[in-house]
């Protein structure tokens, strides 16, 4: 728990308890942005960055709330931090790469409602991780999320060329793929020792 070695935290967050495939967090962007490999990679990157920043802020906020004994403000403050971080990232991307900004479209502000980021903040608080552990946890979660996204995008791009019945096309197909990926990732269990 609080004494977990860093590599174990990373592997756990990335593979064994992958945020998308094991915890069901971040499904909306997972289903929505995983059609093209390139958008998927960039979305993954953006999410990882937001996770890192939010994780560090969440750690600080939690410490603060504990000192003033107001645990009930946790949720509101976490979501406020996440919303602000996403706003910052949005402005950053808009300036640095307008093409990417257009490609990500509505999904960029939707990162705020990405359960994965809030979930990350909540989980790390529950586990009582120290600062460095939080950072590694966030990195692992972000990389895991990106990994799941890339895998899904790759599969879906290939399936564009296959003859898929109409009833299945779209979300249903993506969900079935996700299920298979989830089973595959179960093979990582026990890796942390």
């Amino acid at each position: 728990m609080a004494g977990d070695p860093l590599w174990s935290i990373f592997v756990n967050a990335c593979l064994i308890n992958n945020f998308v495939l094991a915890y069901f967090l971040g499904i909306c962007p997972f289903l929505g942005v995983s059609a093209k490999l390139e958008t998927a990679t960039r979305m993954g990157g953006a999410v990882t960055f937001v996770m890192l920043v939010s994780s560090m802020c969440a750690f600080g906020i939690n410490a603060l709330l504990l000192t003033i004994d107001a645990p009930y403000l946790k949720l509101i403050s976490f979501i406020a931090v996440i919303a602000s971080t996403v706003q910052l990232v949005e402005m950053f991307i808009k300036k640095v790469s307008p093409a990417l900004f257009r490609a990500l479209g509505i999904f960029l502000p939707l990162i705020t409602t990405n359960c994965a980021i809030l979930g990350l903040a909540l989980f790390q608080t529950n586990k009582g991780y120290g600062f460095l552990q939080c950072v590694v946890y966030a990195l692992g979660a972000g990389v895991g999320f990106t990994l799941a996204l890339i895998l899904m995008a790759g599969l879906r791009e290939k399936l564009e060329l296959a003859a898929v019945p109409d009833v299945v096309k779209g979300t249903a197909l993506t969900l079935m793929l996700a299920g298979l990926l989830s089973i595959a990732f179960m093979g990582f269990a026990g890796l942390g020792g």
């Binding site: 495939l21 094991a22 915890y23 069901f24 967090l25 971040g26 499904i27 909306c28 289903l31 009930y72 949720l75 509101i76 979501i79 406020a80 919303a83 939707l110 705020t112 409602t113 990405n114 359960c115 809030l118 979930g119 909540l122 989980f123 529950n126 109409d166 009833v167 299945v168 979300t171 249903a172 197909l173 969900l175 079935m176 996700a178 299920g179 298979l180 989830s182 089973i183 179960m186």
Partner: protein
């Protein structure tokens, strides 16, 4: 409130009914997926989650709708999230007070209701532009539709995964539990299955309608 004539009545109940089928948040709009998949491994958890979401949805719709004239456009999303987060926090404490077991089963997903795109979506699309009365109906409709979808998933997963429904043994010892249904993968497959059923129905109706139009 203006007197209801029959045409207005139909529109009013429409606000409620649309959330159940035509604009069902899970099967049609594909919103709020995260909790749908995560806490639907038993019917009881699914029901609890659905009701919690319903509560938050209706309450935040009420508050946002009543205050809609006071909230400037620039800060509206932030205010909506503030209101929603408040009710989610309240829900979490109430659930803890009612049943520690339930709270442990639902875990962090109660808090995650706050990022359920469904609630924010309804606040933005409806509550901010409609009266309190209609917002309540809209919230109720969407919430019930959401709970219904959750129950579909939860029931299937629990029946196949543990052989029980709401904790009641169905098959006794003759049934070999299909453990995968309780695992995350089972959640994905079950939802895919329901979507398939839903799509199939939609397609049949569309085909029947186009056949009728051709014949006319």
């Amino acid at each position: 409130m203006p007197a209801f004539d029959s045409t207005r009545d139909k529109r009013t109940t429409d606000e409620f009914v649309k959330g159940l089928w035509k604009e069902n948040p899970v099967f049609v709009q594909v919103l709020g997926m995260c909790p749908v998949l995560a806490v639907s491994n038993t019917a009881r958890n699914a029901l609890a989650m659905g009701l919690a979401t319903l509560f938050v949805l209706v309450m935040s719709n009420i508050v946002i709708s009543s205050l809609r004239r006071f909230i400037p456009k620039q800060v509206r999303i932030a205010t909506y999230i503030l209101v929603i987060a408040t009710f989610v926090t309240i829900t979490e404490y109430v659930i803890q007070a009612i049943s520690l077991d339930l709270h442990k089963a639902l875990g962090a997903f109660i808090s995650l209701i706050v990022v359920n795109c469904l609630i924010l979506g309804r606040a933005e699309a409806f509550a901010s532009k409609n009266t309190v009365g209609r917002s309540i109906l809209d919230g109720l409709g969407m919430g019930v539709g959401f709970t219904f979808a959750l129950l579909c998933l939860g029931a299937v997963r629990e029946i196949f995964g543990s052989g029980t429904l709401f904790g009641v043994e169905l098959f006794h010892d003759r049934f070999q539990d299909w453990v995968m249904m309780i695992l995350p993968a089972g959640g994905f497959f079950t939802l895919a299955g329901w979507l398939l059923v839903f799509n199939w129905f939609k397609e049949r109706k569309a085909r029947a309608r186009s056949l009728r139009e051709e014949a006319a």
